[in-house]
Amino acid sequence: MGRGYSRRVNNPSDDRRRISRREMLQSAGLAAGVAVGAPLATLLAQAPAPATAPPVIAPQAPPDASKVPGFPSAALGERSPFEQPALAPLNVTSGATSTPLQTLRGTITPADLHFQRHHNGIAIIDPARYSLVVHGMVNKPLRFTLDDLKRFPAETHTYFVECAGNGRAAYRAAKPEMSPQDVDGMTSNSEWTGVRVATLLREAGVKGTGSWVLAEGGDAALLSRSIPMEKMLGDALIVYAQNGEPLRAANGYPARLLLPGYEGNMCIKWLRRLEVIDQPNMSRDETVKYTDPLPDGTSRQFSFVMDAKSLITSPAFPQKLTSHGWWPVTGIAWTGRGRITAVDVSVDGGRTWHAATIVGTAQPNAHTRFEYMWNWDGKAAQVMSRAHDETGYVQPALEEFKRVRGKGTDYHFNAIRTWNVAADGSITFGA
């Protein structure tokens, strides 16, 4: 970029922000006794952008691109200057940054648009000094380097990762001006490559008493979760590649846990150890957080699986339908219990439903694209989608969800969403 297309305006206030950010990182790095020399430079290079993206200058294309030579190749492919997808909100170190689902088609989330949820910032880890320790109730505690992990048989699968809190703001405080990114942007879908956890556990030899595994990250939160042995001996992976390249720093570089269908918090990023244990640890993130208060005065614990859900990504706010006639109602559906088997679409607020087409093939524990061709008559409409999975589960209506889970429940928000289409074609988020 920057070869004729000017993209963003730098204004002085942004520069001031950036400097103060650098100073903060510098002092934080020195105080913690880490990040001297080159790692500090890496940290600076990773310094997040300002909280709001700078204004965008409209790109210009030549009147006839066939009459002027184009640009030469560069080290990295870049998006067309006409495409400006962006994560939001930015500059978050303890909280979530969401995927712009409304900018995506198909099912794969570009790695740089994968949602991020950090508990104390993005850890920068030197792959040469990385190790994963497997210990606890094993016959032989082992230490693996990143190169060791890559020498094991690799598997590649496409799986979604969804934050257990995805949809909280839309559920508790719905606003008409919410985009798909605002509503449910804490879910992303990638092709992951790595080694089965079971393979590493076999190397170490799990003792008969081992029934759970504590997974711990090497970030500043040392995030830890207990995972049932059954899952760890099943489809659990330690992944080092995402969409064909090393993991992005924000997604757990150089290696993370990936538990297909389970809440994102358990897919520990920057994974540093796995400890085989005989009872759940009762860490903060499996007791105080990631538990679901219910109307009967209990709180549901170890609610690992993400149930079936769907979201229409178009038509959706802030899009506007420019004329009546045919429009694709398209979106994503996913379930942590295997495959999506069907998606229904309603354009009359759930009174009648239409079978949507599954675009491509539904893969287990992965985003599945659906589409329903809608002949809009130009009248106000309420557009909804409803997912079904292979267990016979049906995505619940909002009222049913509220009745069963309560208005104040904290995680696993998978109720049916509604987009309101006005007669002028403008679209707002309903609930």
């Binding site: 505690p141 640890n281 009762m282």
Partner: protein
């Protein structure tokens, strides 16, 4: 089978010799022998967790009186002088509201140590690993035990006068009986 043959084991004893251009299909070995033994020192350096039975809690002890000034110095700037919470930094102190365990009906009721945390050992584990946010992992076991003792006392939770590995695991938290296992199973019933 496209000319493939299974010759595992037989190959080892030479009873199954591959023909020229034959494609063999082999079972994986029991182990690959990759990685190396993790030394006790390497494990000890990162094996920092403590579970709800107290396994993993280090030697040392602390009291609420000793914890009060540490809280004021290292915690109050984010969590408030009285543990009331500031902005997104959670409220720490408070018991179950008169209406009961109403978190499912009212998201505005703050979850505190006194009304939601099911295990006191989690306080040690979490504070020691992740707090304070700007210098995580900087608290000594004595400081951590003292802070835990202080936070339990301020939440009105009965404990022995001194908090250590044994006495912390013995603490009964008020909300613990509220927690139930996941009963969702997929299928037609929404739970």
């Amino acid at each position: 089978m496209n000319g493939r043959r299974l010759c595992i084991g037989l190959l080892l004893v030479g009873a199954c010799r591959a023909k020229e251009n034959e494609v063999l299909s082999e079972d994986p070995p029991a182990t690959y022998g990759l990685g190396r033994t993790a030394t006790p020192a390497e494990i000890a350096a990162i094996d920092i967790d403590a579970n709800s039975a107290g396994v993993g809690l280090p030697a040392g002890e602390g009291t609420a009186d000793a914890g009060a000034p540490i809280y004021a110095q290292k915690c109050a700037s984010c969590h408030g002088a009285k543990g009331e919470g500031i902005d997104k930094n959670p409220k720490l102190i408070g018991r179950e509201p008169p209406a009961g365990f109403v978190f499912a009906s009212d998201a505005k009721v703050p979850k505190t140590i006194g009304n939601y945390w099911p295990y006191a050992t989690t306080l040690y584990d979490y504070i020691h690993r992740a707090m304070p946010l700007n210098v995580p992992g900087s608290l000594t076991p004595t400081e951590t035990y003292s802070l835990v003792a202080y936070l339990l006392r301020e939440n009105g939770i009965p404990t022995s006068a001194t908090i250590n590995a044994k006495s912390l695991a013995d603490v009964k938290m008020p909300a613990q009986p509220r927690f139930v296992k996941d009963n969702r199973t997929g299928g037609a019933t929404f739970r």
